[in-house]
């Protein structure tokens, strides 16, 4: 799934010269290992080890102790998982992220493909359009959250424009609308990145396909659906995957837009619960269990997406 947009790796025939003994063990340029050593140490220290540690924590009675103190951390089996998932707030947060993904992912795929293919053919104002499409993605969530709070509050501009159609209570303090508003915000915020991915994919669609579609009398709409959409399918799989992973990582938006997952936990995300439960209330073990389950769920969704959108290739 990760090599979708990468041109095939350049495989080289082994270059001349007899392999020396050193060459057999470490390869032709052992220096390469030295050059990569800092990066490898970094990956092991910051990704590999914590990943294993996280699973370990989730199966043990783990609590914060003073640095250097020797404490007993007994194995407790699935106890942390049971504790975490007998909390209705945790169950609800998974449901919330489900609502989020159902709105965010399809909207992201449709809008980013639509805008990317329109942008791909345009020649005038290209630089301006590119800048405007990417700017939300490049800007800190914290900064744009401030504007959305202003736009979507009780007597904010959105409600002023909607007049009597505005929901009451307003968007972000309304149990029904809080999560969809967050989903809309994240779609808007991240869209530039996916437009960028689709633009790259559109360059790779063979031009002959458009020509023959045109010869066969297909109009722009028809050739969009029968040439562009299948042509960018690898990118679509990638967009599905990345937007699902990003959505499952949701934290900043419910933390700031809805004051910590409100109203009544209607917009709490699993990561927000992990922060509140694990770090604020000092239960890193149940929080780690939530994290493990979340990742398994996301992997499951990604596999399903791959099966249905990825086709047989």
């Amino acid at each position: 799934m990760s090599v979708l947009l990468t041109p095939p790796a350049v495989t080289r025939p082994p270059e001349g010269g007899k392999p020396t003994r050193r060459g057999r063990i470490l390869g032709k340029h052992p220096l390469g290992l030295l050059f990569s050593a800092p990066y490898l140490v970094f990956v092991i220290a910051v990704f590999a080890y914590p990943l294993v540690y996280s699973v370990w924590i989730s199966f043990h009675d783990f609590f914060f102790a003073a640095p250097g103190a020797q404490v007993d951390r007994p194995f407790v089996g699935l106890q942390n998982y049971i504790t975490a998932f007998s909390d209705p707030a945790v169950i609800r947060s998974f449901g919330n992220v489900g609502i989020f993904l159902l709105i965010n992912v399809p909207l992201t795929v449709v809008l980013s493909l639509l805008l990317a293919s329109a942008l791909n053919k345009v020649t005038r104002f290209r630089a301006f359009l590119r800048v405007s499409f990417y700017v939300p993605y490049l800007t800190a969530s914290v900064a744009v959250v401030a504007v959305w709070l202003f736009l979507f509050n009780g007597n904010g501009l959105v409600n002023q424009v909607l007049g009597p159609l505005a929901p009451s209570p307003s968007w972000l303090v309304n149990e029904r609308w809080a999560m969809p508003t967050i989903a809309l915000f994240v779609t808007w915020k991240q869209l530039g990145f996916y437009i960028l991915l689709y633009l790259a994919a559109l360059q790779a669609v063979p031009k002959e396909l458009y020509e023959s579609a045109s010869t066969d009398g297909a109009g722009a709409v028809r050739s969009f659906f029968s040439v562009t959409v299948p042509g960018v399918r690898p990118a679509t799989v990638l967009v599905l995957l990345v937007s699902t992973v990003t959505g499952a990582n949701l934290f900043t938006e419910p933390y700031l837009l809805t004051g910590g997952g409100g109203p009544n936990g209607a917009s709490a995300s699993p990561v927000l619960i992990m922060y509140q439960d694990g770090l604020q209330q000092g239960h890193p073990d149940t929080a780690a269990a939530i994290g493990v389950v979340l990742v398994i769920v996301v992997l499951g969704i990604a596999l399903l997406q791959n099966r249905f959108a990825g086709g047989n290739d």
């Binding site: 799934m1 990760s2 947009l5 990468t6 080289r12 390869g27 340029h29 220096l31 290992l33 990569s36 800092p38 990066y39 970094f42 990956v43 910051v46 990704f47 914590p50 996280s54 924590i57 639509l114 805008l115 345009v122 630089a127 301006f128 359009l129 590119r130 800048v131 405007s132 499409f133 990417y134 700017v135 490049l138 800007t139 800190a140 914290v142 900064a143 744009v144 401030a146 504007v147 709070l149 202003f150 007597n155 002023q160 808007w188 530039g192 960028l196 991915l197 633009l199 790259a200 360059q203 722009a220 050739s223 992973v245 990582n249 004051g259 910590g260 770090l279 929080a287 994290g291 979340l294």
Partner: protein, 292 residues
């Protein structure tokens, strides 16, 4: 660039009728408006003496303009200190990525050594590991075990080398002709000299893309620095502004104006950098590297 221009000319294959071209213009126009309006509104709102949420408030009104919000937010959170902390955090990540990321990218593309395939696979894999799974163990390790809470090192460490950058570097170096390296090696140049004198100068425009891409990560990051910095004098601007939004804003006289003023200060460096360097930020450069 020249190549893109020539391919663009061939785009006559699907002839669009006039209404379709108009439709395309409308779609793009609505898109641009939807993307830019909140930023315009951010600036307008940050300059209003009294928050004006009516439709008329979306237009500048000379009687309601002030710079006072910037003074007000600066009283509550030191903007200079916040920018400085964001700069140190981002600078640390840029140094790590440009030194060790470049070395790794070069080794992955140009050198042949045992473990190269595994290292490249790791660089791709790391990009799909969700941070939420790492949040708890990294906090335990960095903030508790290593005692790096409220410390720039602790902030920088999980982001020190950007894996996306490593993959993009590799991609750039792969595109360079191998003969170049062979010839220089025969002349007795060491690999470090090769990297510094030959490889880096040839991929310089690409490096700007990577700097931009690496810059926005830590500059905009909220969750991690928020977890490890409790002391306000060490917080990056994204964290101190978020704390202002969630705690202090309620007690300010014009909370929206002050918050938006802080938002403008946080957003401006990235937006300006991007506008200046946007011609380097090309989809083909990034599409090949992002997420592998």
């Amino acid at each position: 660039m020249a190549r893109t221009a020539s391919t663009r000319k061939q785009f006559t294959y699907t002839r669009m009728s006039r209404p379709q071209r108009i439709l395309r213009g409308v779609v793009l126009g609505i898109g641009a408006l939807a993307f830019l309006f909140p930023f315009y509104y951010m600036v307008i709102g940050s300059l209003q003496a009294k928050p004006d949420a009516t439709v008329a408030g979306a237009f500048p009104n000379a009687g309601n303009l002030t710079g006072q919000n910037y003074v007000q937010i600066n009283d509550r959170i030191s903007l200079f200190q916040g920018l400085l902390n964001s700069g140190i955090f981002t600078g640390g990540v840029l140094i790590g990525t440009m030194v060790f990321g470049l070395l790794a990218g070069y080794a992955l593309a140009v050198l042949q050594w045992r473990g190269r395939g595994v290292t490249f696979a790791l660089a791709l894999l790391v990009q799909v590991i969700p941070f939420q799974l790492l949040m708890i163990p990294l906090y335990v390790l960095i903030a508790r075990d290593y005692g790096l809470a409220d410390n720039y090192l602790g902030m920088i460490l999980p982001f020190f080398i950007n894996s996306t950058a490593v993959v993009i570097f590799r991609q750039y170096f792969l595109q360079l002709p191998k003969e170049l390296f062979e010839a220089a090696r025969i002349d007795g140049a060491s690999e470090l000299v090769l990297l510094w004198r030959i490889a880096i100068p040839l991929v310089r425009p690409g490096l700007i893309t990577v700097v931009l891409l690496t810059f926005i990560g830590p500059w905009n990051e909220f969750l991690w620095p928020f977890l490890v910095t409790k002391e306000s004098s060490l917080q990056p601007l994204a964290v101190s502004l978020a704390n202002y939004i969630s705690n202090v804003a309620a007690s300010a006289s014009n909370p929206f104006g002050a918050t938006l003023a802080g938002a403008v200060v946080l957003a401006a460096p990235v937006v300006v950098l991007f506008i200046v360097f946007q011609r380097y930020f090309v989809s083909t450069n990034i599409g090949s590297g992002v997420k592998g």
